[in-house]
Amino acid sequence: MGERTTRLLITVGLLGALVAALATSPYEWDFEPTWRYRKLYGNGLLKTLGATGIAFTVGLIVGVGVALARLSKQLWLRHIGDLYVELIRGTPFLVQIMIAYFGIAPLIGVDDKFLVGTFALGAFAAAYMGEIFRAGIESVERGQFEAARSLGMTSNQTLRHIVLPQAFKRMIPPLTGELIALTKESSLLFAIGVMEMMSAARQVGADTYRNFEALLVVAALYLSITIPLSLLARRLERKMGTASRTGVELL
């Protein structure tokens, strides 16, 4: 039996057992009220996808800046990059998004929850993606830089034509991972009242007193986004041969 079949059987078996256990429990299941709120879920799903997509794009752009700052020859730039990453990674996103909405947004006169939440998520993503970019650039062998510079390429040309094309390949799997993380992290936009999927689930639970069902549905919706992404990441990794051979099988 192939590995794929075995994995599939194990998955089906475990899921079946879980469903059976839930179905036979004393809890009386009723998904009907949840179904009535499908439109709310649908809108929430769109907001979740929108916020994640925009934040990912913001993260990509700002992240490149963060990486270049941290790799800069200028100490002050390097230090600003370091500080940014430390501040963002050292505080919970829940705290950041609340500071953004309740602290910064009123100061600059912005009132759009979705906008504030999404950009806060983007700023959060940039710190992590900056690290992915930096690691990708640093993974390119020194000899590649030397060969390029010795041919008279400028540092920008070296970065653009030699380093980034090689680094980018290696960054795709971790960037996909970051996209998955962002999808889940976007649920915290619920804390400032953005009506994304998590808020939808909370509202359905409150309206129908069917919290368990409402939350299971939202969990399934998140999985319907993250599992395909995760499969895609694994495929890309295999296709590009970045999944390097380890020695673990010798243990």
């Binding site: 060969a147 041919l151 008279g152 090689q166």
Partner: protein, 236 residues
């Protein structure tokens, strides 16, 4: 013409180059020999500012080589470098490896790139990616790539040290042709036969110092310094 004036290079307490003064004339082929860690590579790498001397200066055709000066990219196009480990660009075909740098300088020319590959005998590998090439083929593509900028001098940093023995000949052959065409060359090498045959002058280095300079006959048959003789006795 390459000129080293009192060049020193330190890495912390380690002395890599110790007061080196040397002139390589236009059209001259100079082989730099010596034990591992004697400073051969460092010396070559100072010519295109991959290393910056701790003291002293290097001049290329009278221009000071300075990594912090804005003419450095211009100077680097005038010196080709061939590395021990090739450093071909793995995401580009052999042809693209050769063409990229000239293209970025606005003088990309596919016919010229193909002619260069032909010249080093790998014309049939133009559209192949580096990981499908043998070591000898890789190094010949690397030579073509360095020649594509039409350099006035070429630096070879142990170009055959990473090759399987049966591939050394083809790379030395390409270098030999280049030498006969009058290219100015500095070659850090362990190939004593090649140094003897192709070089006009041989430089023996040890512990960062130039111990002895002479024609191949002078160095290989009639070395004046004890250290040179001891080294040659070991490797010949």
């Amino acid at each position: 013409m390459i000129e080293f004036r009192d060049v020193c290079k330190y890495y912390g307490d380690v002395v890599a180059l110790d007061d080196v003064t040397l002139t390589v004339e236009q059209g001259e082929v100079v082989a730099v020999i010596g034990p591992s860690g004697s400073g051969k590579s460092t010396l070559l790498r100072c010519v295109n500012a991959l290393e910056t001397p701790s003291a002293g200066e290097v001049f290329l055709d009278g221009r000071l080589v300075d990594a912090t000066h804005k003419d450095i990219d211009e100077i680097r196009t005038d010196v080709g470098m061939v590395f021990q480990h090739f450093h071909l660009f793995p995401h580009l075909t052999a042809l693209r490896n050769v063409m990229l740098a000239p293209e970025l300088k606005g003088r990309g020319d596919e016919d010229n790139a193909r002619a260069l590959l032909e010249r080093v005998g790998v014309a049939d590998k133009a559209d192949v990616y580096p990981d499908m090439l043998s070591g000898g083929q890789k190094q010949r593509v690397a030579i073509a790539r360095a020649l594509a900028m039409d350099p006035r001098a070429m630096l070879f940093d142990e170009p055959t040290s990473a090759l399987d023995p049966e591939m050394v000949g083809e790379v030395l052959g390409a270098m030999h042709d280049l030498a006969e065409e009058g290219m100015t060359m500095m070659i850090a090498t362990h190939e004593m036969g090649f140094a003897r045959e192709a070089a006009h002058r041989v430089v023996f280095m040890d512990e960062g110092k130039i111990v002895e300079v002479g024609t191949p006959d002078e160095i290989f048959d009639n070395a004046q310094r004890e250290r040179t003789r001891a080294f040659l006795a070991k490797v010949l």
